[in-house]
Amino acid sequence: MHAVVDRSDYRIKPDSVWSGLWKKTAALGIVGLVVSAVGLGQDPKRFAYSYLFAFFAFLTLGLGSLFFVMIQYITKAGWSVSVRRTAEFFMSGLPIFAVLVIPVLISMGTLYGGWLGGHEGGHEAQAAQSVSHGAVAKPSDHSHAVPTTHGPAVSLEERNARAVEDAKHKQHAALVHGKAGYLNKSFFLIRVAFYALVWIFLSMRFFRWSTEQDVTKSIANTLKAQQFAPIGLMLFAVTLTFAGVDWLMSLEPSWYSTMFGVYLFAGSNVVTMAVLILATLGLRKNGPLAHAVTIEHYHDMGKLLFGWNAFWAYIAFSQFFLIWYSAIPEELVFFHMRWTDNGGTWKGITLALVVMHFVVPFWLLMSRNIKRRLGLLATGALILVCMHVVEIYWIVMPNLGPLHFHWLDVTCFLGVGGLYLTVVFRAMEGHSLIPIGDPRLTRALGFENA
């Protein structure tokens, strides 16, 4: 093919900025987590939500990378071999989440009090955190702070209002009670363990198959990975969907959306493609990937980024549209929290998601010429990485209350991100940056878009 491949050369050089980067992220992560631990003592509720936000901002990247790797195997893709290793590095950080999940489990009483401690206890917790909405009761209004004493001095209107509130309260309790077969502590913990096992197994298995091949050059590894990819993808689909249900959807236990799993999956793929573009650009700038990842690869990664983002928008709108149109109270609660409720403070972010996660990147990344201009492609990717973080914030935080930033959001983000990236960057330094033993590597190196 075009490039002469010196296969010993695809490693991070000692003088590169990437060399020893893991030490910096490790320091950042540890400082972040220690400071957050102080925050846990001061404001356990805020910590719980901030931490869950940080946890999902990075978990989705790890899971999206796992999906990308498995898809390359199941499709026997040739073009992507030289970028697959970068995705494998981000995938290889998944096992650390088995440790990083511990603070989520510590805070589960706070996060999932709505169903963990029985529906009554949950209601008090929710009533305490929800904001006052004034006299007009909205379908999503979960404030049950109305006193229940029915004295003779109370007017008829007020009694009626209370009766409506009581009915809502009972309905909500009945809804949550009906889900108790799934949403209960022991089953929840069993599922957490199952997700952890599946993700650790899949990420380690695929990473080993690929890195082992660097040395052995054995084609058998590629075949094994190809054969296992369909099973891996099925396990992935189930675990990602239910993890989304368990950890994010159940923050508001009465709410349900059958699209939520796909929605989370779409977002994971967007952030993965965007990070893959930015990471390979960074690795190229400082050396080894310069000839292995070409403009043709960026064109293709740009197409995937554009495609996944259009898919994300399609799913996000479909979820909104069906809920908005049918207007069933227990479904509407999700969007009410992010629009009129919480003092309307989340409106701006909701609109920002529409504009900056869809409209702007959609028009920016549509043209072939832009996807082949690396500066513009990187701009699009950077916008989408930022908007992914904003989106996870928007999914988690409105359950806590009105929009207001807290230093714990930042320290948790740095803590979780620091530790996760430490694992990723260490793997980058320990292995070749492209799978030098892969039988399809030459095809990837000479790849061209027709």
């Binding site: 908005w324 149109y325 072939r368 010429n369 027709a450």
Partner: protein, 192 residues
């Protein structure tokens, strides 16, 4: 007196030279030939191969396809048409509240906005492609050549049309022979 051998009877209607057709054995050869023809400045010519060849666009000096812009125009037309139609019907001409939603609200328009955008894009893509390929046409002079059937099997062809301003039977033929063609054929078609 004329002998039978001297009589050159031309059967059928008069013919004219339509194109020169060069045949090659490999994809690499036809690609190099295309580079020569491109550099010689020809404009009305084409290559015919059994499968797409990576890099042929560049070898032929083809610019990026303008089809995308036609599709974009189709998409924007569809979007505008759908919006105007629904806004006029539901929001102005005959306002009816359905499902408690404002009659002219955008979310309920989105599915139709999306569908008409896709529909018009697809039409623009198909018919734009037809237009740019000068389709439909019933015949092309290359099919006059019996050898040309091999273009769908194992041979690679390059044709230069006689209406090309640089076309000169002798010089063009020389160019094609020099490009390692295994065969150069003069293809004729009936005059109109």
């Amino acid at each position: 007196m004329l002998t039978k051998a001297d009589t050159r009877v031309v059967e059928g209607p008069p013919k004219r030279v339509a194109l020169l057709l060069a045949e090659y054995d490999t994809a690499a050869e036809v690609m190099h030939a295309a580079e020569r023809v491109r550099d010689a400045g020809y404009s009305k010519w084409d290559t015919h191969t059994p499968f797409p060849i990576h890099g042929m666009d560049r070898a032929m000096g083809l610019a990026d396809s303008r089809l995308g812009w036609i599709v974009l125009c189709g998409a924007l037309t569809g979007l505008t048409a759908a919006f105007t139609m629904m806004y006029w019907m539901n929001g102005v001409d005959y306002r009816i509240v359905i499902g408690g939603k404002p009659p002219d609200t955008i979310p309920s328009m989105v599915p139709v906005l999306f569908e008409l955008t896709i529909l018009f894009s697809a039409f623009a893509a198909v018919f734009g492609m037809f237009y740019m390929n000068k389709l439909p046409r019933h015949n092309h002079p290359v099919f006059e050549s019996d050898r040309f059937a091999k273009a769908t099997d194992d041979k690679f062809f390059l044709s230069i049309e006689s209406d090309d301003p640089r076309f000169d039977l002798k010089a063009t033929r020389k160019l094609l022979v020099a490009s390692h063609a295994t065969q150069v054929e003069v293809v004729e078609e009936e005059e109109e």
